[in-house]
Symmetry: C2
Subunit: 144 residues, 2 copies
């Protein structure tokens, strides 16, 4: 029985799953420093919030996150149906996010279907595109 203690190497898929979790942890943290750390900071990043047009470029994307964070007291995200694909230095994740949001005067539940595209830069998977769209609240993902 080998008792090798060499550090466990992660597959690209595991690294991508962690990057995706860090993105949603950053969302839950409502801390722009954490959100800054998960995105690529270039003019080509894009972001589609549920029911909204595409935002293009890090400046525009960041500004909208800052506004969401400023108007939110607490957020909890539970993921399901997480599906991962890696092709070279690009990887993308399909997942269903069950999002509960508390603002100053309400608590809202939403279910969104997300496609998150990451690019590998200096050994780190950085978010390049986030596309989230609304699902009926009764929807449940059939993919686990």
């Amino acid at each position: 029985m080998s008792t090798q203690t060499a550090p466990q190497k992660h597959t690209p898929e595991e690294a991508l799953r962690s990057a995706n979790q860090r993105f949603y942890a950053a969302f839950e943290s409502l801390d722009m420093n954490q959100m800054d750390a998960v995105w690529a900071h270039d003019d080509a990043v894009q972001c589609v919030h549920p029911g909204w047009n595409m935002l293009l470029g890090w400046e525009e994307v960041r500004e909208r996150w800052a506004r969401i964070f400023a108007n939110t007291k607490r957020v909890r995200v539970v993921l399901s149906g997480v599906w991962i694909r890696v092709e070279g230095d690009v990887g993308w994740v399909g997942c269903t996010a069950h999002v509960t949001t508390a603002s100053a005067d309400s608590i809202d539940d939403a279910i969104v279907q997300a496609t998150n595209i990451f690019i590998l830069r200096g050994g780190r998977w950085l978010l390049a595109t986030h596309h989230a769209s609304p699902l009926p609240v009764s929807s449940r993902s059939t993919v686990q």
Copy 2:
């Protein structure tokens, strides 16, 4: 059924723009042979139609397109805000699609925001992920 294509003389971005146009032309054609030709046919393709959960795998994705085509008499798609990014053998397109659909008893207008991810296989850009989500009909993309 030949799928041979002429040698590529275009930039990757131009080839990707053409692949994206072929996808929407296949949608307008309501011809499953055309739809077959634009997608990668593997277990990992995914598709999110507006307001629906993710479909996973070519069989499931194709079956849904066949059902949409069977229930549609005519469809017209006008694209705007087309935005293209290529990273190695993966490319993705963000665009706004203005979709007019005629079925047996109605004509519907919809505006959807789409993220389409393509992979390069044998010199051809094949669709691997289509994520389309509803926008308010009054929305207009700010990206050209």
